[in-house]
Symmetry: C2
């Protein structure tokens, strides 16, 4: 077919996580049918996000301001800092609505085999923040995977004797990822967090 | 979170078929990370489709021209007309790359309970086309559902004695395993068995 605009849109949609070529075609036909209700608003919303979305300079959260809502909220300067691998984990914690402190997004996990060292993550910035924000407790909320736990141990080595170190309670299933957990489990794991 | 642009985009993405709230959040984070490579091109592609996409006035296919590529291709005036429920079915037939004639998209199936009668589908237009395009064979490629087969019977009643009427063969799908097939399909395949 020489309908280049439509073919092009299908190809781009198929690059989204969770969509393949078949579901992308389905989604595009749905969009064309709901042109005024969905296609145009979605295009505009993407344009708006392309212009406004940015990483928080302090914690690495994704938002629309230079410093995110959580970092700029003085009520959240509780001295507790929750370290997560990814922005999606931070959002999952916020949905659970049980943590009142601030976050630090690492941007991944240590992975010597893939050449990912401490400088490739925001670990130096984490160490700075622990000092400058007078952090008393660092909660290591990394995924219960091998890489996540390796990274947690590395950070614990850097910070021990400087702050209280805790991790989420067991209750997070082995091999599970935060973003896929229900809010109840995340809440229970935070409440039952234990000293390392 | 007061990040309205991002929340708004997540809400709209969650309305796409195949995506829920969780996968929409994942897709939006992915888009923000691939801003130049994916987010902006996708927004532009949607804008382009919103402006150019249209239904073919002749067959109901979705394309970017008033009359679609298939209807305007004289080589496809073979006298064979393949009737499908939906544009996605037409696209599926085209991917199979085995049919050289033209199509007619009904836009749904007859459904008296939902108040969908022949005038709500493009059945009157189909009857016109059979005359004006000198159609010799109508292939009823409707889904093997109750509604699909009811609609096929209705159309067959309208057209019998005017053209040759056929439907897609029913049987075991290529690569299909008997153990995973429903009884109806196995029954149909046995009834329509052929000599080796």
């Amino acid at each position: 077919m020489s309908n280049n605009e439509i073919e092009n849109l299908i190809e781009l949609m198929a690059k989204l996580p969770g969509l393949g070529p078949r579901s992308a075609r389905r989604a595009v036909l749905h969009l064309i049918r709901k042109r005024a209700l969905l296609l145009t608003p979605l295009s505009d919303a993407m344009q708006a996000v392309a212009v406004t979305a940015r990483e928080c300079l302090n914690c690495g959260n994704v938002g629309t301001t230079e410093i995110c809502d959580i970092c700029s909220n003085e009520k959240r300067a509780t001295g507790e800092l929750c370290v997560v691998e990814d922005v999606s984990d931070l959002w999952a914690m916020e949905r659970a609505n049980v943590f009142r402190g601030r976050y630090h997004v690492l941007g991944g996990t240590l992975s010597p085999l893939d050449g990912v060292g401490p400088e490739d993550l925001s670990i130096p910035r984490l160490l700075d923040r622990v000092e400058s924000e007078h952090i008393s407790e660092v909660i290591l909320a990394l995924n219960a995977t091998v890489d996540g736990q390796t990274t947690a141990h590395y950070i614990a080595d850097q910070l021990e004797e400087r702050v209280r170190l805790t991790s989420l309670a067991q209750g997070v299933p082995i091999g599970g990822e935060l973003d896929y957990l229900d809010e109840g489990t995340i809440g229970a794991a935070l409440t039952a967090r234990k000293a390392l």
